[in-house]
């Protein structure tokens, strides 16, 4: 049958299991939007393309499914860049479809023309500029495959306006043509390498697991829990690995690195075997590489060969899908006692717990603890980037994978609000909470309009310290308390702003109101913004100063009277 290029793209997206699009129309993408409407494809109209990209990202992180982001040519497309790189750094699949000026106009600096193909090369896993409507079927199929196989990531398909309207023959049953070389099947995990890992484990007295986002993406959480509990190995979760191992398990050690728990960092410094599972040794995790796990044999299981040996010298590299590797390990691993090591870890947990002072002000950690209590760790929790993000990772306890979504690699402030909206579309059965900072929230708060328009019942808790808090913390500690341009003394009234968007707003200045406001928010039928005026001087502890080793961690403020 004959169809337009846009129709074919939509048909192929549907056939590939894609159920939802987020975006904004504009000149060069109008034919595609016209066909979206005709095809009755579910679409969420956002206020900014960056928001649309983060929504698709949040949707994918909580559901494991892939969504489409649609933007017009030029500024619409360039507005996606931050969202694409956020997804790329955290290995999140999404498909961006952008309009482009008509093919005869390409290269003429036409109205709203941008070389989005060139712009998006470094921020996507792969991208295409489609110059012939007959290619669309194959390109969309490949786009879905590239985004979702191996190490997932974002892709972009740029479709000129005349290609969207061009009519061509379409056979939905047409067999897939020769796939791209890199969409090969992943090799089966190397049995020899797994054997080496088993031997190292049998010899180890103080093993530790570092479990990253790979556990969640590979659906390996159950295998991980079985492995860790059977072999009695304490588990550290990276920021993006949170939820990959139950936060309530006695073997759970929390997050490592710059703002990790003291006991996680002690365990890294003392372990004699580190088993890294789908984690990429980010600099925030390792600290100074030369003093990272100084006593340990390092085993690294990863689906991406380029991650193995990239930052940390690996003694036992295991290339493969982490679920399959764990499955093999679980068939071989013998139950172990490991009493001395586990006692040591327990002692650290008892002697160096996460803590914060109490002075009658609203402490941000207290708000997070209250959210944890009210939800029982059963919700989905999104964050922006900064101090609040670290406190959320420290004080929330996740019971299952895909419950915590945060921009880890790129550290994109403003990620939280749109990502939490996307998350609610991905998991409508779950309560979605956003823990945000005033700085992060202000960057994308326009998407309150989207939450309002679609009545998306997200619960937004702003931990408002009227500062770019993490910048302020570094200025206090490393820049002689010179608070260079990190202060927002005239922050808007976020509760009133929320009301302006038709969203329920609370402004909270009294610590005694925290609990009741959170409870009211949890019951509210629709989106809620809670503006908690927290203690502006609160810092995140422990802290490993930038460039220092994890063994140089500072547990608490330098002098006690600052506490």
């Amino acid at each position: 049958m004959e169809m337009t290029g846009a129709q074919i793209a939509i048909e192929e997206l549907k056939a590939g299991g894609v159920e939802i699009a987020f975006g904004i129309p504009g000149g060069a993408i109008m034919p595609f939007y016209d066909d979206l409407l005709k095809a009755n494809f579910k679409h969420i109209l956002t206020r900014h393309e960056q928001g649309a990209a983060h929504m698709a990202d949040g949707y994918a992180r909580v559901s494991g499914k892939v969504a489409v982001v649609v933007a017009t040519s030029g500024p619409g497309a360039t507005n996606l860049i931050t969202g694409l790189l956020t997804a790329q750094m955290d290995s999140v699949p999404l498909i961006a479809v952008t309009g482009q000026v008509a093919t005869p106009m390409i290269g003429t600096d036409a109205f709203q023309e941008a070389d989005i193909y060139g712009c998006s090369i470094p921020v996507t896993k792969y991208n295409w500029l489609v110059k012939d409507a007959r290619q669309i079927q194959g390109v969309i199929r490949e786009a879905i495959r590239v985004a979702t196989t191996g190490r997932p990531g974002p892709v972009l398909v740029d479709i000129p306006k005349d290609i969207q309207t061009a009519r061509t023959d379409y056979n939905p049953q047409a067999p897939a043509k020769g796939a791209l070389p890199a969409v090969r099947q992943m090799p089966e995990a190397d049995a020899k390498a797994i054997e080496k890992l088993m031997e190292a484990l049998e010899q180890a007295e103080r093993p530790v697991i570092l479990a990253g986002a790979g556990i969640i993406k590979a659906g390996a959480a159950a295998e991980l829990a079985r492995f860790a509990r059977h072999a009695k190995i304490p588990v550290i979760n990276t920021l993006l690995g949170m939820g990959g191992f139950p936060g309530t398990d006695p073997l759970f050690l929390g997050m490592p690195g710059m703002h990790g728990t003291a006991y996680a960092n002690f365990a890294l410094c003392e372990c004699d075997l580190l088993i890294s599972l789908g984690a990429r040794f980010d600099d925030r995790v390792t600290g100074k590489v030369s003093s990272f796990c100084p006593k340990a044999v390092i085993a690294h299981v990863d689906i991406d060969d380029a991650e193995i040996g990239k930052r940390v010298k690996t003694h036992i590299p295991v290339l493969g899908n982490v679920r399959e590797v764990l499955h093999t390990l679980n068939r071989q691993v013998k139950p172990t006692e490991r009493r001395a090591w586990l006692d040591q870890v327990e002692a650290w947990k008892r002697d160096y717990p996460l803590q914060y002072g109490w002075d009658g002000s609203i402490k941000p950690q207290y708000v997070i603890e209250q959210i944890q209590e009210i939800t029982g760790g059963e919700g989905i929790y999104a964050t922006g980037v900064g101090q609040h993000q670290m406190w959320a990772a420290q004080f929330l306890r996740f019971n299952e994978p895909r419950a915590f979504i945060s921009s880890g690699g790129l550290g994109t402030m403003g990620y939280g609000l749109p990502a939490s909206i996307g998350a609610k579309f991905g998991r409508p059965d779950k309560e979605v909470w956003l823990i945000d900072g005033d700085g992060s929230f202000a960057m994308t708060l326009v998407e309150l309009a989207t939450a309002s328009m679609y009545n998306v019942p997200i619960r937004v808790a702003i931990l408002n310290n009227a500062f770019l808090g993490m910048v302020r913390q570094w200025q206090e500690l490393f820049f002689g308390k010179r608070y260079s341009h990190s202060h927002y003394p005239t922050n808007p009234d976020f509760a009133k702003i929320a009301e302006g968007y038709g969203v329920k707003g609370f402004s909270v200045r009294d610590v005694d109101q925290v609990r009741s406001v959170l409870e009211q928010a949890a019951e509210h039928d629709g989106p809620v913004v809670m503006d908690f005026h927290v203690n502006p001087e609160e810092n995140v502890w422990p802290m490993v100063p930038a460039g220092a080793g994890n063994d140089e961690m500072q547990l608490a403020p330098p002098s006690p009277e600052d506490a």
Binding site: G118, P122, L180, P181, D305, I308, G309
Partner: protein, 175 residues
């Protein structure tokens, strides 16, 4: 590590088979600039299979950097195969055109050098000679050094081409 440290170390020749299509070269170039690797030279051409191109690039770095370059190149979606072209196990050649000042009284001497290096004169004018020479790094460097006193006015180099010695090939296994 600073980019300078990153790109210190000996030079390596890497051959990459890629899909022969729009944008692939941009993706390879983007990878090198994004990760701070240097490209000393790069040559691209279609292979006996018209859907496959062969890129030969010369870069510098220690073994760790080189391993990353190989792995990152392999990770590119359009990459079919990556191979280290170790000097001793490969034949490596580059072609250079060089325009040198050649007033009448110095021509004989230049022609002698051309002869010894088995280079060829491909163009001449009253003041200049244009010479074509093919060889490995060492030969081309030596040739340029000998021409320098005469005044090298312009050079154009193709970048390196390299093949394994013996029957071994860099086969493109396309699915």
């Amino acid at each position: 590590m600073s980019p300078e440290e990153k790109n210190g170390g000996p030079s390596h020749t890497i051959a990459v088979l890629v899909e022969n299509k729009f944008g692939v070269l941009a993706k390879v170039a983007s990878l090198f600039s994004a990760r701070g690797y240097n490209i000393d030279s790069l040559s691209v051409g279609v292979t006996q299979d018209p859907t496959v191109s062969r890129i030969t690039l010369v870069t510098r770095g220690d073994e760790r950097v080189l391993e990353q370059i190989r792995k990152q190149l392999s990770k590119l979606i359009d990459t079919i195969k990556v191979m280290d072209m170790v000097k001793e196990e490969t034949v490596q050649r580059e072609m250079m055109l060089v325009k040198v000042s050649a007033p009448r009284r110095e021509r004989a001497e230049i022609l002698q050098i051309v002869e010894v290096f088995r280079a060829r004169i491909v163009d001449l004018s009253a003041e200049t000679l244009t010479i074509e020479i093919t060889g490995d790094d060492g030969k081309i460097a030596a040739f340029l050094e000998l021409l320098a006193p005469f005044g090298v006015k312009e050079i154009a180099r193709t970048g390196k081409a390299a093949l394994s010695r013996g029957p071994r090939t860099l086969k493109s296994v396309k699915s």
